[in-house]
């Protein structure tokens, strides 16, 4: 029983990371059809930004509010980089999807190489606030607290995004744009301007996932974001490409399947079963779990 509880909570924690990365990917794809392969690099930037701030910025640190400041710094850097990438590299290539893929893949390689050149390829120990270091007893299992932190953050982000889409003017533009970009443009709304903000929000979530991933894994390395990105893409496809709620459900599914398969079969089978899950979903529901936004 306690194993099942531990696996479930850990799977949900992993799902939280996937969701944070995948939600941005899905909004970016839904609104402009851009497959952002540089999204994993935003995660790496968020992780290194947080780690760097914790060591170098006065007031920021590895514990308490200092750690919150460090995460805020990492997320701010990730957001800024995402916005700059959108304005300088993606914007000139609107509607040119092959070029977009090439530029984001290239950018991803370049950013990871840059991080590696500055801080080395070896994993760096990541600051873990005392809150995340302890364990909580849940139904007989000792669950590390960082899992709860991940899950709680993802839930807050999910609720915030849904509320933003539902209750703001801008959210209405995004929901309509995801459904039919041409029609929104025909109404006289410049969807490209909305896209810059969506891209930056996606970058912020990825950077946040970078910081949380650092807590979860205890260390950070330059290639971390890119390997997480593959699963995030699988989550986006299973979730129906442009649906936030679909992405959340798919993230939970992928996280749980991966954890349980890794434990009960053999280590590494988890990754394989996620790909199998993708195949099954695509064969039975080619449009993903849901084909609409929220």
């Amino acid at each position: 029983m306690s194993t099942v509880v531990l696996l479930t909570v850990t799977g949900l924690g992993l799902a939280a990371l996937y969701f944070l990365v995948a939600s941005g990917l899905s909004l970016i794809f839904g609104l402009m059809g851009v497959l952002n392969f540089a999204h994993g690099a935003f995660l790496t930037i968020g992780a290194y930004g947080t780690w760097w701030a914790a060591e170098n910025i006065p007031g920021a640190g590895a514990t308490g509010w200092g750690f919150v400041y460090a995460v805020a710094f990492g997320v701010a850097v990730g957001t800024l980089v995402a916005a700059v990438v959108e304005l300088t590299l993606i914007r000139p290539l609107y509607e040119r999807h092959i070029e977009q893929v090439l530029v984001t893949v290239g950018l991803s390689l370049a950013l990871v190489a840059l991080v590696r050149a500055v801080w080395g390829a070896d994993p760096r120990p990541f600051p873990r606030p005392e809150l995340a270091r302890g364990t909580t007893s849940l139904l007989g299992a000792n669950v590390p607290n960082d899992r709860f932190l991940l899950i709680a953050t993802a839930i807050v982000v999910l609720v915030a995004v849904l509320a933003f889409l539902r209750f703001t003017r801008f959210g209405l533009v995004i929901r309509a744009g995801v459904e039919n970009r041409t029609m929104v443009t025909a109404l006289g709304i410049d969807v490209r301007r909305a896209f810059t903000l969506v891209f930056a929000i996606g970058g912020a979530f990825a950077a946040l996932a970078g910081a949380l991933g650092g807590i979860y894994l205890g260390s950070i390395s330059p290639g971390q974001g890119t390997s997480l990105l593959i699963f995030a893409f699988i989550v986006v496809v299973i979730g129906g490409m442009s649906s936030i709620t679909g992405t959340a459900v798919a993230a939970v599914l992928v996280g749980l399947v991966q954890q349980f398969a890794n434990y009960y079969a053999a280590s590494g089978v988890g990754d394989l079963s996620v790909v199998l899950l993708l195949a099954v979903v695509l064969l039975t529901r080619p449009g993903g779990l849901t084909a609409r936004l929220a």
């Binding site: 209750f167 703001t168 003017r169 801008f170 209405l172 533009v173 929901r175 309509a176 459904e179 039919n180 041409t182 029609m183 929104v184 443009t185 025909a186 109404l187 006289g188 709304i189 410049d190 301007r193 909305a194 903000l197 609409r292 936004l293």
Partner: protein, 247 residues
């Protein structure tokens, strides 16, 4: 209101619209007819900026908009509906219209601004929905409406953007026979009571005869005739090209 001069569009060597010239006066209702593939929808796409103009010019209310983008044209008062029903199926009826009102009134990009029922966009949307008779169905998902009601919703969306010139691309397409009369009445109301200039592609001749001031006939991308409905239907060249088959 609208001047079109020598409008031509060629894509990959194929001429889709060839040397089309006509004027539409303010408050006028001009219908565009022609066989399938005559270039009617392409003409609309050129006018609304969705297709690039190869040569010729489009002038809206004295401003040359030949090279303007679709969003820019919409802001200058050119509104259009699409041949395929084009409402946001996932949004509610009210949200569909509110989005359009928001586009006209500005402020869509104020990212964190919450929507309040006291907003001007709410008021504009409510008025447009009442005009087309959908006021009681404002909170249904747009995807659940009947075909005819979706067309009415498209008209409400257009009205909310307060366009000076309205382009309607086959508004009766796919609408059940029972709904045609009601929809015709709504379109007539938009033209006469709201004072909109209308350009409409339509196949139902009987609908056009009551609505249109003039009828433009297109054939093979060119403008074959442009005259009152009575004279157009009497034109031998038009009968040869189109009406002979269609009627």
């Amino acid at each position: 209101m609208l001047q079109v001069a020598g409008l031509t569009c060629a894509i990959g060597g194929a001429v889709i619209v060839s040397d089309v010239s006509f004027d539409v006066a303010p408050g006028e209702f001009v219908a565009v007819i022609g066989p399938n593939g005559a270039g009617k929808t392409s003409l609309f796409n050129l006018l609304s900026g969705l297709l690039p103009v190869t040569s010729g010019s489009v002038t809206l209310a004295g401003t040359d908009i030949t090279r303007a983008g679709p969003a820019d044209r919409a802001r200058r008062g050119l509104g259009r509906t699409f041949q395929a029903s084009s409402v946001f199926a996932g949004l509610t009826v009210q949200e569909n219209v509110r989005l359009a009102a928001q586009a006209r009134l500005g402020g869509s990009m104020r990212a964190w601004q919450l929507v309040r029922p006291s907003d001007r966009a709410y008021e504009v949307a409510g008025r447009a929905l009442d005009r087309v008779g959908l006021g009681s169905r404002a909170h249904l998902p747009a995807g659940s409406l009947s075909h005819g009601d979706k067309r009415k919703l498209e008209l409400a969306i257009l009205l909310a953007t307060d366009p000076a010139l309205v382009l309607l691309d086959e508004p009766m397409a796919g609408v059940s026979t029972e709904e045609v009369a009601g929809l015709t009445e709504v379109i007539a109301g938009v033209h006469r009571e709201e004072g909109k200039t209308v350009l409409m592609v339509e196949h139902h001749m009987d609908v056009l005869l009551g609505l249109a001031d003039r009828v433009a006939v297109m054939h093979h991308g060119a403008l074959l005739a442009l005259d009152t409905p009575a004279r157009v239907t009497g034109d031998p060249a038009v009968q040869e090209a189109y009406l002979g088959d269609a009627l």
